[in-house]
Subunit: 418 residues, 2 copies
């Protein structure tokens, strides 16, 4: 069971809304800090543990600054994401570029920042060398193919566009060695939003064995193995979170059984968790504009799928509560909708909730990852603001809401200003 | 069969790319004009025919200006869309607001512009009157429920969030009459991207009978019936376009059989086609950055799902050709991917194409509707430019590509400029 509790009182929320109208996402700094500390503690046994936060999940430099203060780095997969990490004060090898189908300017920026570069394909060795030169520390992304099952979200590894095959991997390290690269890492990322803890331990075992094989066959002493991200969160109250301490201990056993006897002791473990770090500590706050009763009972919010795409695109569950009605019986059945002109713009279908009134504040949970980040401007919808709830209860605006001027900024027509 | 032919020669395209780097969408002005003229001709028998172009499909004022010149108005469903129509010079009742879960400012802007307002719910009568007042001409959106089957894209009408039930519809007109509204329209939109021509004729028949019933029961002389949009386009070469002349004649027969005998002659017919007008005449032009061979053969473009979401989100087919290789045998099997860090960022899976080389220009077809419009910034991806191909072959930039500055514009963090 995972508790779904919004960290702000109804009275305080109304004060916040006076200054920052709904809809907005709000992130709980205290809990994000506590959560990433818990991750580092679970891996405190490791000679060196690195968390490269998956910037894609919540691409806001202010959040990245908080994570940086806690010791995290960044997992970037585009040029703007590299710049976000840089803006957050992350430096050098705290930043890891794990991209695919990578353009030259992205490699160039990564080199300029001194980042670790993780190549997605054997052909990228030549492309990188030609367009940007090699980084001090080079890594390759392994695609284990049918050795790992994957899951519904990321699909089967052998059907994924990512990574090198086993055969290519050995060849790639050979080529890189021959070109003078001296420092190496190894990476994989095969599951997404997975709640089964043993998956991560199994992946670690597979990767550790590969690290040993690389040492034995090529004499490479890997500096790190990056196990990727993919730790899910319990979107539904009846789901349980992944026990990160259990994962940490399981990986420790694998490390002691495989890495230490092979003389690879000191090799760092890296992860690139995004969703598991910030996901549960973001909330989308919206206001009820309309109730509509036709063939079903609809509650219309001032937020829409542009603010949170997962329910509309994936049919994903996000928990919902009504401010001040937490104790009321859930004896009504509603579709909770946004105003976007798409029939799938529904945050929930046939959801059991307390009786809702117009003006009620609606809390959508677990929007701290892949929430605001995925928003679009379809149907002329403007993306919402992001707020940060500090430990002392004060509020910081960390992204203003989009404006009409933003929406028109790129347009060129008769009568346009540019 | 629908011919898939890019209207620009390889040599001319290279000249264009020198000034406007890929990726970009390019729209064919000549064909868009010819296409909307064909629509107006197919309905030239009607006492008055109105096309309110669905702005959502291609929200660019420059395109709207062209459509305005051809006599079209706009179908808007958000405040920014109202402003786009206004920016394009569309005026008064050329603009129709068909929104749902509508906020007050949207109604207020529609009133200010003198637009027709089409209400989605009976409860919106009070909300509109209180927040904005009534427009000169008021319409209601009818949801026929199980009377119409719908299709896979828009779903079954009785599960759609849109419109009023039959019972509510009559009640709504009664209320509006009692509040002094004198001019009325009627609207429905029950199918999306449909290629079966008779669907549209059947919808017209249903709506015409309803118009007669409204006259008989309430004495309302409807000024227009808006049959919505929903005419699909043949994304696949083996599909056939909807014969708009056949649809026009079928609706004419229904009009003569139902509307004229009832003394409603003069009632206008309105449609709100978007996809069918501009869809086939937009092209996404991209360049091949990488080829990757692992478990499959991947071609990586400089465009990604941020430029065209339909394949990734819906698994939708978009035709692809390789510039200069139109006559070459399609003897290779590729996945065509973008660089977004999502495994579903694939424009095509297992597509038969000619042998592709790095640097080749790739044309993705039928992006003139719901193409650029749906793009997001996930993973830090910047949305592409839009170009207009004039009849004389010259090129006009009608939307510049997004920049890093655009991407950072809303952010607030330590060290940010604002």
């Amino acid at each position: 069971m995972s508790e779904k509790k919004f960290p702000i009182s109804p009275e305080r929320l109304e004060e916040i809304i006076k200054k920052h109208p709904t809809p907005f996402h709000i992130y709980d700094e205290k809990m994000i800090r506590a959560n990433i500390r818990r991750l580092f503690k679970a891996f405190s046994w490791a000679p060196s543990f690195r968390e490269h936060y998956a910037v894609k999940a919540a691409p806001n430099p202010r959040l990245l600054q908080i994570l940086r203060e806690e010791g995290a780095g960044a997992d970037c997969s585009s040029l703007p994401e590299l710049l976000l990490a840089d803006a957050a004060g992350m430096q050098g090898e705290k930043i890891m570029l794990t991209s695919n189908d990578t353009p030259a300017d992205e490699f160039q920026k990564a080199i300029e920042l001194g980042a670790v570069i993780n190549l997605d394909d054997i052909s990228h060795i030549d492309y990188l060398e030609k367009n940007a030169g090699f980084p001090s520390c080079l890594s390759f992304r392994y695609n284990p193919g049918s050795l790992i099952e994957g899951n519904d979200i990321i699909g089967k590894p052998e059907e994924a566009k990512y990574g090198l095959t086993r055969e290519q991997l050995f060849e790639a390290y050979r080529i890189a060695l021959s070109r003078g690269v001296k420092r190496f890492g190894l990476h994989t990322m095969v599951i997404s939003n997975e709640l089964h803890a043993d998956s991560f331990i199994n992946t670690a075992r597979l990767m550790f064995n590969l690290a040993v094989e690389l040492k034995n066959k090529l004499g490479i002493q890997l500096e790190f193995v990056n196990l990727g991200g993919g730790i899910g969160i319990p979107y539904r109250p009846e789901e349980n979170e992944v026990n990160i301490e259990y994962v940490g201990q399981g990986i420790r056993q694998a490390y002691e059984a495989i890495i230490q006897p092979a003389g690879l002791d000191g090799m760092a473990i890296a992860m690139e968790l995004g969703r598991a770090i910030t996901g549960p500590y973001g909330y989308l706050v919206a206001t009820v504009l309309h109730e509509k009763k036709t063939f079903k009972d609809y509650i219309g919010l001032d937020a829409c799928m542009a603010d949170l795409m997962r329910p509309a695109i994936y049919g994903a569950y996000h928990h919902i509560s009504i401010m001040g009605k937490e104790a009321a019986p859930c004896d009504q059945t509603y579709d909770i909708t946004g105003s976007l002109c798409e029939n799938n713009d529904k945050f929930a279908i046939d959801r059991q909730l307390p009786k809702i009134d117009i003006g009620d504040r609606v809390i959508l949970y677990d929007t701290g990852a892949h929430g605001h980040a995925m928003g679009f401007n379809y149907n002329g919808k403007l993306r919402s603001a992001e707020l940060l709830l500090h430990e002392d209860g004060s509020i910081e605006l960390i992204r203003r809401a989009e404006t009409i001027d933003d929406y028109f900024a790129t347009l060129r027509y008769e009568g346009s200003v540019l």
